[in-house]
Amino acid sequence: MALEKERLKGLYRDMYLIRNFEDVIKEYAANGTIPGFVHLSTGQEACQAGVVRALRTTDYKYPDHRGHGAILLCGTDPKYVMAEIFGKATGVNGGRGGSMHVHDWACHNHGFNGIQGSTVVTALGTAFAAKYRHTDDVSAVFMGDGTLGEGTCHESMNMAATWKLPVIYCLINNGYAISTPCSVAHPQKELRQWADGYGVPSWRVDGNDVEAVVETMEQAVGIARSGGGPSLIEFVTYRWQGHFAGDPASYRPEEELEYWKKRDPVLLARNVLKQREGVPEEELKAIEGDVNAQIQDMLRFSLESPVPDVSEASTHVYEGFPVEVER
């Protein structure tokens, strides 16, 4: 299915932003400016953008550990997202969370978890609350092929299916759980088959085709919003980087990466815009120039922002009790 031109342009802008944002993160993780480790979503831009853009602000969104892309689009000003990844006071979580925990209540971005399978059950709760309060908000939870090994996935889908909760399982199958190929850890030929045992509708789609991602997501959202319960979408894609920035990923064949780079989701969308929709090169360049300038602003903001004050480390541990901070 073809998306309307203006919408596709917006999605291209989103994906271009993710790609170039991640490149900056990669550079500043490599040079040691960003503490800890980061998981880059380079190569998975279409699933990140397509999923979020099929949702509305009040829907509950659960980006996972490889979720910078989705997080950028949930509604937070992206400079606060970048500053969080840099561990700065101006970050959306004041530097408490970092790359794996960039979440923002205001736009229902619940990307707060670094533990595989954990938010897969949290999503049940926001879906339950929507149903309990008779709203039609849905909960979309990102998971990877590796996540499926966690028992919580079974508990979650079993309960969501039984109670017809509006949960959408967005399974990003990028082929590897760190170094372990999907086929080594899971028996299903297609991971979407996992949903069959629960009578949950599922799709397997090209995760690098943003139009297919949006179209399928919209079907799933439609089911969930209208009380039809959960569904699962397996997005077949690939991560260009290793598990974390700096991981040489020597566990996978080079030709595999080459194959997937030829299926670059950002370039695919660009080509569609240019060839099918007749968008002139100058217009695409203008979008890209805009985004690049925006990223430079974010970077400047993140670099110039102060580190958090240590007093911030002990606030909101409890709402009703003080925390002792003397050593």
């Binding site: 925990h101 059950v121 949290t122 926001t126 929507a130 028992g151 606030t315 009703g320 009790f321």
Partner: protein, 325 residues
């Protein structure tokens, strides 16, 4: 007006009164709705509010996970874990999400979850249905852990737990479920984080929690016959615990014995001992005594289970050793 109620009924009444007051309160767990709970703690709710109490699959992670998500979305879930031992199945959810969501969302969203779980030894059900779990969770900032000793405390602390914007692990003792006591009919809230002096004394402080409160009082009565005046503190909440109450009592008595159900190593009694040793060493005129269960799993055969458990006689012995030091 006060009546005699069982600990079970007191807990049940707290939930019902809070559900009357606040429609964001709901209950979920295994066999809680139609059956009214494995121990009958959630009776008489389903027929009144069939849309606010839910039987779940045997999925402790999903029960707690659902509660977490519903809480940050503005509801006040009461999640029952049928036996506290099964909290182990949901350990990740409790320590990594329930306990940390307030911190993560920095006050923009709260996680007012109550996780209720019957705990404790004494029912002859061996090592998977007999644990006390305060100490499993003590090292997790963000959690409140309440362990009521009486029906009065059970109702008042549960009401506070439900109203609290902090997540509360509310542990009920299986051997207390049928114990009766005075319970006011109207709703009332007892403060979390505060203990009480159960019995005043001058020679030694005995710190107790839940099942050991009764044991400590028995021991104190026994000690009185020998001319030893024991002060018994009931902590009610072990996280956070009432340091001021403990320090003031030890300042007065100069001797401390801690009566804790559960294995000794890494138990909450160790935390209290360390805190007193570190901050109030000068108050002490004798080594701190810890009276606990043995560092072994709970066995099935009554004689074996009783061997594991502590008793009032053990407390008496520890107090006498402290006084004789």
């Amino acid at each position: 007006m006060s009546r005699k109620l069982t600990y079970t009924k007191a807990i049940n009444e707290a939930m019902i009164q809070e559900m009357e007051r606040d429609d964001s309160v709901f209950v979920l767990g295994e066999d809680v709705a139609k059956m009214g709970g494995d121990f009958g703690l959630t009776q008489n709710i389903y027929h009144r509010w069939p849309d606010r109490i839910f039987d779940t699959a045997l999925s402790e992670s999903a029960i707690v996970g659902l509660a977490n998500g519903a809480a940050i979305a503005g509801l006040r879930p009461i999640a029952e874990i049928m036996f506290a031992d099964f909290a182990g199945v949901a350990f990740d959810q409790i320590v990594n999400s329930t306990a940390k969501l307030n911190f993560m969302f920095q006050g923009e969203a709260n996680c007012p979850v109550v996780i209720r779980a019957p705990q404790g030894a004494g029912i002859r059900c061996a090592y998977h249905h007999s644990a006390v779990v305060e100490s499993w969770f003590l090292n997790t900032p963000g959690l409140v852990i309440a362990s009521p000793a009486t029906p009065y405390e059970a109702k008042g602390l549960l009401i506070s737990a439900i109203r609290s914007d902090d997540p509360v692990l509310f542990l009920e003792h299986k051997m207390l479920l049928n114990v009766k006591g005075d319970v006011p009919e109207e709703p009332y809230a007892l403060p979390l984080g505060k203990g009480v002096v159960e019995r005043e004394g001058t020679d030694v402080t005995i710190i107790a929690l839940q099942i050991t409160v009764g044991m400590a009082l028995k021991a104190a009565a026994e000690l009185e016959k020998d001319g030893i005046s024991a002060e018994v503190l009931n902590l009610r909440t072990i996280k956070p615990y009432d340091e001021q109450l403990i320090a003031e009592s030890v300042a007065k008595t100069s001797r401390l014995v801690i009566a804790q159900e559960g294995p000794k190593v890494g138990g909450w009694a160790a935390e209290i001992s360390a805190m007193i040793g570190e901050k109030y060493f000068e108050y002490l005129s004798a080594p701190i005594g810890r009276v606990t269960c043995l560092d072994i799993p709970v066995s099935f055969a009554p004689v074996l289970e009783d061997y594991y458990m502590l008793s009032p006689a053990d407390i008496v012995r520890a107090v006498k050793a402290a006084v004789a030091f």
